[in-house]
Amino acid sequence: MSDASFLRLERLTLAYGDTPAIKDLDLSIGRGELVALLGPSGCGKTTTMRSIAGLLKPRSGKILLDGADITRMPANKRAVGLVFQSYALFPHLSVFENVAFGLRLKRIPGGELQKRVQDGLKSVGLSRFADRKPAELSGGQQQRVALARSMVMDPKVLLLDEPLSNLDARLRLEMRAELQRVQKESGITMIFVTHDQGEALALADRIVVMWDGHIEQIGTPEEIYNAPASAFVADFVGFENVFALENGHLKTPRGLVGLSSPAPVGAAGLAWRPIAVQMGLGPYQGTVRGTSFAGRTREYLLDTPLGIIKAEADATGSSYDIGEAVPFDLPIEGAARLSRFA
């Protein structure tokens, strides 16, 4: 067992009734990595996470953790921690007892238990709240209790379900930092599920983009952000103008359109972020259909022979009004080259 495949999913398939939720999933995660499962709802990311935890039984395939096959191992024997999206704190127990819950089941002796719970609470800054009931805490505090409750068990893998989605913007930043710190200090392997690309990019060492039950792309945040491999990933990370290539031409809703320079060899499609669309000069012509001010930039909706194009230009430069005709270009050097178009 190498550290690079501390957790391995092999051809994992899981179905609800007849509709497969994930099919033939292969994934390796290294020890101490912080990985994001990213995708829209229904893509299978939560299903994947829950099968790692043992809450769902896969139809076929294998899950290997730390060298052992845990595919059929009951959830309560796996040493996998999970921080639920709604935190799932036990409402009838105090914060202390919530954190002590798993340790008591393990029959950890009193003194050691006290110490481990207190250390756990201290590490998330909640020592003062030990005697409170979960309902008396804010959402952010509840989440930190849930984090401490999982962490005191020393799990081999910690799973987090949409860890930031229930928090407001300020708490989100705080919690993000907190998660990174906990992960650094403990060196634990962490996998979190999110539908928010910003969260995944900011937090993860590696991102697994999922769609429709399979993995679209695995890569570092930079790779995912700058070099999406498929039309789906491109669209998901903000490339608003995505085209397939056919015989060196862009395939648009209004027919094939030629490129301003030769198409790159081997690419199945090209995608541009709005900011990569060059306005003011170029071989194409569009009519401004909508415009909105976005601070440092201004966004435009252009009606063009290529269909609707989303463009973004520096707000300090020249601006265009609705109904105005504007020339523009889609420069090859600003495009992401998609190796798959599906």
């Binding site: 809450l55 769902l56 039984k57 959830a75």
Partner: protein, 275 residues
């Protein structure tokens, strides 16, 4: 984690089997006696039940009392419920507590009180005599009137509670808006309150109606052996005549009425849940 079919079946099996064997099977066999008297298929028990004048009288009386009690409960219920929702939150809570309380007391005890009140030497007759309104005591006990009063007292709380919760869910400004538009109180009731609380009325009405139809204690105590309702008739047919065919017919009538009322309630509940 909650996908294991065997696990879920194991959880529901004991109660389901219990209800099926101890409860549903015997009742179904009993019902079958009405269409299979003496082994062969026949509707004779139904024909003979509905052609016997006494049975018919009891059947009609039961329906009549059911309707009367429901209507009276609705009228009194609206008056009381409208007063209650206008109370302060604290007063409302107390009032509802007082109204629910009788539901927890043995119906025998509650019905029995009417003997003291309605009897030959009861309070009502004493009052009537003192005011010299009647010659000699009125015979109120062991009559339909006595049963009506007893049933109304037994089931009125259910109606009031249903109406109070319907009124509480009514948009607060509806009455004020109608008043501003120039409606008088009667118009406000017909055009605003009634349409907006009709679900509560139907729920309360169904509870009162089925409760009255399937009442045993009230007719047994306040109706005596002569003024029967369906349940007391069933008891008599079995204990006096060993007439299980008639018992089966009555059981069928009671179950059909009670079942359709419950179906109606369920419809209403799901319709409301969807909104």
């Amino acid at each position: 984690m909650f996908q294991n079919r065997a696990e879920s079946l194991a959880l529901v099996l004991p109660a389901t089997l219990f209800a099926a064997i101890i409860f549903i099977a015997p009742v179904l066999i009993l019902l079958s006696e009405g269409i299979r008297p003496a082994g062969g298929w026949s509707l004779a028990p139904y024909v003979s039940f509905f052609t016997t004048p006494l049975n018919l009288t009891v059947f009609i009386r039961t329906l009549k009392l059911g309707v009367l009690v429901t209507v009276a409960a609705a009228i009194i219920g609206y008056a009381a419920a409208l007063c209650i929702v206008n109370l302060s939150a604290k007063g409302r809570g107390r009032m509802i507590g007082l109204i629910v309380l009788p539901l927890m007391i043995s119906p025998v005890a509650r019905t029995y009180a009417w003997i003291v009140i309605l009897g030959r030497t009861g309070i009502v007759n004493q009052a009537l005599e003192a005011l010299e309104l009647t010659d000699g005591p009125l015979r109120i006990l062991f009559s339909e009137t006595a049963i009506f009063i007893g049933l109304l007292q037994l089931f009125l709380p259910l109606m009031i509670i249903s109406l109070v919760s319907a009124l509480e869910n009514m948009p607060r400004d509806a009455i004020a808006a109608a008043r501003v538009l120039g409606a008088n109180w009667l118009q406000v009731f017909w055009k605003v309150i009634l349409p907006l609380t009709k679900e509560g009325l139907v729920i309360g009405g169904t509870l009162v109606f089925t409760g009255s139809l399937t009442a045993y204690i009230t007719p047994a105590i306040l109706g005596g052996s002569k003024v029967l309702m369906l349940e007391t008739l069933l008891y008599q047919r079995v204990t006096i005549a060993n007439d299980f065919a008639s018992a089966s017919v009555i059981a069928m009538i009671l179950i059909i009425m009670s079942f359709s009322a419950n179906l109606l309630l369920k419809r209403l509940a799901t319709a409301r849940a969807k909104r």
